[in-house]
Every structure is written in C-alpha cells, then in structure tokens.
C-alpha cells in the first residue's frame, strides 16, 4: 500500500473512466487511512505522556481505595482488587480532617479576597492616577518580586512571634494579603484600557472607587479569575509558613495536618493516602474549573511571543 503513495501522481490518459474512478476511490481510502493513522499516533503518544504525568495521582487514588493488606504484598498491585472507602472513612473519623479543610478554606479564601482587593486598588492607582513618586513606588513593588519568601521567613517568624499572634488565623493570612505579581498583572490589564475610559467616567461624575467597582472590575473579570484561581491554589498548598507558625491541631491547615500523618507503618499508609487524595481534590477541582480563566487571564497579552 505504501508504494501507492508515490505512484499517486498517475499519468493522465490510458485510464478508462471506470479505472480512474476505482483508483480514485482507492487513493481516497489510502489518504483517509493515513490521516487516521496520524491521528491515532498522536492520541497514543498523548495517552502515554498523560499516563506518565498523571501516574502519581492515579496511583495515590488507587492506594487510597486499597485495604492495607493489599498494599503490603510483594505482588503487583496497581489497582485495588477489593476497592473500599474504609480508608476515607477512617481518615475522616480519626483525623480532624474537616477542621483542617475549614481552616484551609478560610485562610486561602481570605488571602484570595485580600489579594484581589489590595492588588486592584494599587494597580488602579498605578494605571490611572498621577502622583509624586509613582515610578519609584512601582519600581519598589516590582523589586519585591526579587525577594523570595523563603529569604525573609525567619525574620517574619520572629516578628509574628514578637507580636504574639502565633497559632492564629491572622498569622496565616496577613503576610500573604498582597502580591507584586497581582499588582503587575492587574496594572497590565488596566493599561490596555484607554485613558479616555477613566476620563469620561470622571466627566460623568464617577468617583474613583465607583469607577473601580462598576467599570474596572467587570472589565477585568478574566484577570480576576486567573488571579483568584492561582492565589487560592497557592494558598491552599502553602506549607513552610503554616508549618512554622501553627502549633495546635485546631489551627493546622490541610497540608500540615496531613503531613503529620507521614509515616510508613502498615495501618496509616492507606489512611494517609486517603487524606492526601481528599485534600488534593479541592485544589484540583478549583484548578480544572478555573483553568480556562487562568489561561485567559495569565496569557492574554501578558506573555508575548
């Protein structure tokens, strides 16, 4: 068949209509098959890579559904033979998982809301208002991007312990209430609007705050969406800071609470996996739901090629 492809450049003449029609059909089939094979290969390659990338996640779900005696064998055990939700039930009853989840939702939610608020206000000032020292201040904000959180974490720890707010919600939330990246992202978005948008609103007697609420925020939904998804997931996944500043079980976020289960004894491995799956789920759901707006907000104009 493959030699046919080269012979496809058939000479004209010497073929009857019927022969031509038959050849035509055959070549059509050939081309169609080639297309199918190409698509098939692409899907196969994708499936392979996707399986590799998803493997840790799929496997963790599988272990979470396994009775622990199935995990502790020398046999191949990719998929549970007798899947059970017992691990999840145990995880929910033996560990204050609900408390961790509520804590994390509270903390991540507050951080997300706070960042959107502070960043849009600051970005508004940088994009639309004129004031003394604007460039210097903006440069200062940009410069904060150069300071990794890990480099200031020990001084921050000393600060908050001095303030006596260790082991509270505020200590988890306060340091993350703004972000240079958010300010930058919003400002880029605002700059893409014509200044006349702001000027005509002013002429109509619109106050700055009203302008932000009624005009800017609706116009920047995609940026806000991207920011919200990104911030929430990062806050949900925060590890080092909560590890340092929370002590009591009541204040633990999901990541800290679950990692306290970190051990390899027979009873707790499957339970731990059930816990891990449980706490990955919310961030995954939010990511999948917000993926579209994340991509739209982060890459429309922000990354130029």
């Amino acid at each position: 068949m493959s030699t046919q492809t080269n012979a496809m450049a058939l000479r004209r003449g010497g073929y009857s209509e019927a022969e031509l029609g038959r050849l035509h059909e055959e070549m059509n089939r050939c081309a169609l098959r080639k297309k199918h094979v190409q698509t098939g290969l692409l899907v196969a390659a994708n499936t392979l890579v996707a399986l590799v990338i998803l493997f840790p996640l799929l496997y963790s779900v599988s272990v979470a559904l396994m009775p622990s005696n199935e995990l502790f064998t020398m046999e191949m055990n990719l998929i549970p033979k007798h899947p059970t939700f017992e691990n999840f039930i145990r995880a929910w009853t033996q560990v204050p998982l609900l408390r961790f989840i509520i804590n994390s939702f509270l903390v991540a939610g507050s951080i997300t809301l706070g960042q959107i608020l502070t960043c849009s206000l600051a970005a508004f000032a940088f994009a639309f208002l004129e004031f003394r020292g604007k460039n210097v201040l903006f440069l200062l904000v940009m410069a904060t991007m150069m300071v990794p959180g890990e480099a200031t974490i020990l001084s921050n720890y000393l600060t908050v312990s001095g303030m006596g707010i260790l082991d509270t919600y505020s200590v988890l939330i306060l340091p993350s209430l703004t972000s240079a990246m958010g300010i930058f992202l919003f400002r880029q978005f605002y700059l893409s609007f014509p200044m006349s948008l702001f000027e005509s609103a002013k002429l109509d007697g619109c106050t700055n705050l009203r302008f932000i609420v009624t005009i800017l925020i609706p116009l920047t939904k995609s940026a806000i969406g991207a920011m919200a998804v990104y911030t929430f997931i990062n806050a949900w996944n925060m590890y080092m800071w909560p590890l340092l500043v929370t002590g009591s079980e009541n204040m633990r976020t999901v990541q800290i609470g679950i990692s306290m289960l970190n051990s390899v004894d027979a009873q707790s491995v499957t339970l731990m996996m059930a816990g891990v799956v449980t706490i990955i789920l919310p961030s995954m759901v939010i990511f999948i739901a917000g993926q579209k707006s994340l991509i739209k907000g982060m890459f429309s104009g922000a990354v130029k090629g």
Binding site: T5, M8, A9, L10, R11, R12, G13, H24, M27, C30, A31
Partner: protein, 385 residues
Amino acid sequence: MSEIVLKNVCKQYEKGQQYAVQDVSLRIGEGEFVIFVGPSGCGKSTTLRMIAGLEEISRGELWMDGALCNYVEPKERGLAMVFQNYALYPHMNVYDNLAFSLQIRKMDKKEIDRRVHEAAGMLGIEHLLRQRPGSLSGGQKQRVAIGSALVRNVKVFLLDEPLSNLDAKLRAQMRVELAEIHRKLGATMIYVTHDQTEAMTLGTKIVVMDQGRIRQADRPAEIYNHPADRFVAGFIGSPSMNFFKGTIRVPGRAAFLELEDGTMLEVPENRAGLLEEKYAGQRVVLGIRPEDLHEAGWPGGSGKTGHADRSSWKLEGEIVAREMLGSECMLYLESDAGDFAARLPVAVRGAVGEKKQLYLDMTRAHYFDAQTEKNIFYREGRDLV
C-alpha cells in the same frame, strides 16, 4: 509545460455541512495569470489552498502536468505560494527568509546566494537582507514574501490576497510590479483577491466565484462586457452596475422595457428579438453601468431609420450625492424606478436635491432573467475545461 486542471473539485469541511467549494472545473494554461475573485467566503482561497495541497480535496480531481495530484504533498507539487499575512519567519533575517526553501533542500550555498541576490535585486530589497521582518514596513514584507517565492524558480506561483494588507498607493505600485514579474518570468500565476480592480488590471483570466461555485471564468474584457449573470455584473466594475427591475412589454411592433415607475424604454433592435419571443410580459432586470448614462440626449432620429426610438432612453431622478473624482464626477440619484449612479464629465450640471434627467445607452445595457438572474444574452462561447 505546466498545465493545471481542476475537475469538479469540491471541498466540504465537515460531513453534512455546506460545501465551501462546489464543482469547480477549470483549466489553467501555462503562463496564464488567473485571478480568483469574489466576496469573502466565496471559496476562492479554499480553491487556491487545495491547489497548494494545504487543504484536502473532498471530491473531484486536480491534474498538474497530466498527473493526478489530489494526494501529493504540498512540497512535492513544485509550487511557490505567497500568503495574505506574508508568513515571514519572524526569527530569521530577510536573507534567510528568502533562502529558507533552498537551504532545506540542501542546495549549494553559492547557488542559493546567487538566487537570493537575483530575487532581491528584482524586488529592490537588497539593502534589507540583514534585517528581521519585524523591522520592515508592510510593503517591504510583501516584497520579501514575493521574493521567497521567486527564488524557488518554479513554474507556478500561488498568491493569496497578497496586496490586501497594503495601503491603496502601495497596492497600485505592487500591482504594476507583479504584472512586470509575470511578464519577465512567464510563469503561471494563480492569484486570489476580493478586489475587482486588481482582478481587472492583472489577470489574463478572471474566475468570479460566489458561494463556492464559479460564476464565470473568462478574459477581463469579456467578464466586464458580457457578464454571465447579475452577480458577476454587479461584482465586477466600480462603481458597480445599476440594476432596475422591469417588465418586457410588446404593445405593438416594438418591444419595451417598463420600469417600476412606469418609464417605458424601447429595447434596441439587436436585443428585441429574443426578448419579444421569450420574455413578453415577464419580469427582467436591466443592468447598466454608471458610465453608460449620459447627460445629453441622443440626436433625434439619428438618421438610421428603423432604429428604436432613442429619445425614450431616459430616466429622471433626484440627486442625493455628488462625488468629484477628478477627471469625472459621480452622481447618485434616487427615482421611483430605483436608485442609480452615473459617471459623467466634471462639467455636468446639477446639485444635490435637484431633479436631473439622464439618458441611458440601451445598446450597452444587460438584461437578466428576474428568476435565474442569468444574463439573457450570455452564451458560453469558450471551452473552459
């Protein structure tokens, strides 16, 4: 020789969907400059892309040099193509853009160099060779795009709306240059445009398409003077042809066209026969180009007896706009028979709001069947396949 034949070529993007291109049959001879023209979405670009091999042909045959080429890869077809948005490689300088197609064929470096400079010289872009496309103006990019097709030394060039992103002045200039290149190379050029001026000035053959079908394929003058149907008549020519709905009346010996406002225009003798015979009492559409309307009447009884009464060939309307074109002047009028435009000498009298009577040169008018919209007097003279 390089002959391209399309035989009942169809394109359907999804099964069950409308055809983007339907039953296109056409022969393109060596050295022809064929222009596909039509409104956007008419299938002209799709047809070109099928010839290039960028789109699969759903049905029908594409023959090139006597070989069936439906399934031949684009790179094996021996064509060069110029894209609407130029499709320059942004990370390569102009030299490498021109040389790319030769470099990947592992051609001798010296030969590449010679050809690049030859093409660059022909297009006057030799001083730009070291620059990146990003720093070029639209016109320069266009030249680079054309140049990178030229270096290929192929017999067939495909051009997909190559001038549509240029301003009017540059467009006119590039038109002249393209015609010059075509004359010099003698290669076949297949050119897609939505601009009927380009089509008229460049083509040796114009293919007018609409809704996926060829409406007419012929030499420019033929298309202009003998449009096959109302669509072609209206599409080719700027400003476009005036159309009036009317009915053929044969009250006595002579045939008349009655317009909607009751105006009776006597049909000239060379048209009368067929209209009397087949269209008496039926609705037709009269088409007349703006330049075939005149200010002065016909000299009464011009001497040739037996002729139609030319003094009846007139129509009155209210001037709604007047446009100065320089050497000529456009009048736009409204009447109960329909709106119409006339191209007249600058000296023409009449201001906006005034009534104006104009005379129609009915010998140059076209008659279209009101139902089929076909030109009643069009005969397919040429064998196009």
